[in-house]
Symmetry: C3
């Protein structure tokens, strides 16, 4: 666990380390990608009247990156942005779902920090199969606090859906071309829980700065997910907010542009993976309905594990760690 | 991953490979067992007015076996029927629970194929403890699609129970001797989701062709499960359809006739395992009640893992892989 | 698996082995600790009008310890009390939640025995990461039977809460100093499911006999948990019965006095662990609300795994096995 940097270098590098952490949410070790993500998030959060989501992002990224230094983890990981990507998502999720109270912000800070050791622990387990925890440390830690909010009134579940038995929610959907483009872009923006199509454009640009292949797979994946959920007649309200897109986008970037070498075979594999992510998304939505819990990026983690664990030579996987 | 067969041999062997896959649902690498299962299933499916279940079985077995060849997995496994047993159960489950639509059949095909790589992945994990995934690839993949059907109206949950809080469903039960025999045989038939006592007789015969010991344990296990759930006063409607029997039957064949060498000790171990499977069945029924999801053969997988994982010398376990 | 004792020694040592098992619920390999636990439990169970809980404790400890001998497990583990701690908790839990019927007692005996092989199996798995199953064999086995009780009327869920969607249960709480002391002591007593503050005093004394450090961490942890859940405005009825304390107490003893060497760093680590246990407790309460299942000591297991799995050098962990 040799450390690369002196304290003064840590301070100097800190903003870059945080931005790379934000870029790593979509697997890009690139501070410019991170910066464009931040701009897109601030745009969308203010446009939608939820500025706390953008500030939560900053707090989450800073707190979790600091925690990595405090715990003296190997700073090579930190420099690659591997400390920040879970924490910044915690920072987006808390104000999206919980009331804006002091207790919520304290919980946000604790939960962002916690993702660091949850990640180390899960990676200790999954590393046995050369597998990574992806964003599951964010998902698991945030689930604990969002569920707890049902019973702890200092941190109320103000913007979470009501718990209800899963049922017949057949809401209509406008399917004009302009509408579809908006849903498609929102599917990308929702990776950071932003319900705004302009943010989706920022995100595509941000990916393209680092990897054209990642940007293309994000666009393809959101389109496949949208087509699939419309064909299978999913709930209109969720489709129009991009809620069937974000996990599929992450699966697409993970399989198509990160953990498999390029080939026609791996491209087909990715398309199937994105397609099945939509069903896993619907399944987890139904499963969590009686407790009113959002899936977060859980469906992406489950789908990507399912498609990487077999480690078929056929798809020329890279090491997923 | 040396391949045993040339393409022309694959074509010639294909029906046998599929039949062995169907036989492996009850751990029998025997095409005649598979054939008798198919006959019993067609009998029961047509008798109960659900012919799609029988045709689903055929589609599922063919698709998943083909997928094994397409992915170029080691064909020694295929020849033993290890590619077909999850897929054929997917094929029975989809028409049992979902409406008969085009979207359902497309999903059935995707899900049958998917069991192949879910199985490889799970076995990569469980293999560390010399444990196999049994029918859990079928269970997990099918759970995703059945849950998704609550929200995706192209594939409606037509024959699934309504989601409801678990409660006081004390339905009466006729316990004449003839009734008990019917429940006991249905417990065996329900392994392939068939609610027909004649099918149960076919299945006993099918097992006996391959292994008398397996047939005997299937009969004993269904009887133990029936006695247990009647003594503990379980819900009459489920008992009379054999729904407390099928997981116990699989546990009995797995522990009693497949993964333990014969001895008085391992026989007692098997009886305890079958007995506890009944409680795990009831527990999972209650757990899934608010989302209206059937357990499928999940209780068998959980129970058998619990009884094989300790790997006590005492019971002379064979390698469960 | 050399055996230490002859049959006559086993008989002679049996009471001591059982008492050590009871002591191990709070990680103390000490028969006097176990004896004081038993006295505190009998006091509380009779005072609260639930004598069956105390007798269940005895039956569970005896049955599970006997099972260890019958299965011929290495009796070094038995002598350390590692066979009894799950079984005795099963014995407390069944009469706490289920109606007092013959079928309940038979199930109690089976479930106590079952914890032995569930523990061997889980430890086989978790041992790969030098981790132990703690009280999870008790938790998992008991969850099966408590859930099953919703459907099996021979063993009715008489004292379990009704299944309901998680919601707005903001009950008031008296916070006079005397009240707080009672809640704080009940938080410790509830480790054995006893709702009685005097029992809490017995338990602190019992811990102090074996380890002052463990007694101090139990007291600190119950206090932290109480303060946290009051600040975050949890449900008054549960707080006043100590139901937010018991898992936190176990996390505190595990991290603070058992699996980390003493240092300021590990003390801070323990405090954070105890704090987060409260949120995991609330989260699991909400998660299980629609099926009306108690969390038992599940939140402690989850929290302690999360804090031990990273195995940071920073906190000087001992081997958790």
């Amino acid at each position: 666990m040799a450390q690369l940097y002196t304290p003064s270098q840590i301070v100097k590098n800190f903003p870059r380390t945080c931005l790379r952490g934000i870029g790593q949410v979509m697997f890009q070790d690139n501070m410019w990608t991170g910066l464009l993500f931040v701009i897109g998030i601030f745009w969308g959060a203010y446009a939608e009247g939820f500025p706390a989501v953008a500030w939560g992002l900053v707090v989450g990224a800073v707190v979790s990156t600091l925690t990595g230094y405090i715990l003296q983890l190997p700073d090579k990981n930190g420099a690659q942005g591997l400390w920040g990507f879970n924490g910044c998502l915690v920072g987006c999720a808390f104000p999206t779902f919980l009331g804006n109270t002091v207790w919520m912000w304290i919980a946000l800070i604790i939960c962002s920090a916690m993702t660091i050791w949850v990640r180390t622990g899960l990676d200790n387990v999954l590393g046995r199969w050369k597998m990574s925890s992806f964003t599951f440390p964010f998902v698991l830690s945030t689930w604990f606090f969002l569920l707890a909010s049902r019973l702890l009134h200092g941190m109320p579940p103000e913007y979470m859906g009501s718990p209800e038995l899963p049922g017949d929610v057949h809401t209509a959907l406008n399917t004009g071309f302009g509408d579809l483009v908006v849903y498609w872009l929102k599917g990308i923006a929702q990776v950071f829980l932003i319900n705004n199509w302009v943010t989706g454009i920022f995100f595509i640009a941000a990916l393209a700065v680092s990897s054209i292949r990642a940007a293309v797979w994000a666009m393809i994946s959101s389109a496949i997910a949208l087509a699939t959920v419309i064909w299978w007649q999913g709930p209109g309200a969720d489709i129009s907010e991009g809620l069937y897109g974000f996990s599929a986008v992450l699966t697409g970037i993970a399989l198509g542009a990160t953990f498999c070498n390029f080939s026609w075979k791996s491209a087909i594999w990715t398309v199937i993976g994105v397609f099945i992510t939509v069903f896993i998304q619907a399944a987890m939505n139904a499963f969590f309905s009686p407790i009113g819990l959002p899936t977060l990026t859980g469906p992406f983690c489950v789908a990507t594990w399912i498609f990487l664990l077999p480690a078929y030579e056929f798809f020329q996987p890279k090491n997923a760690q």
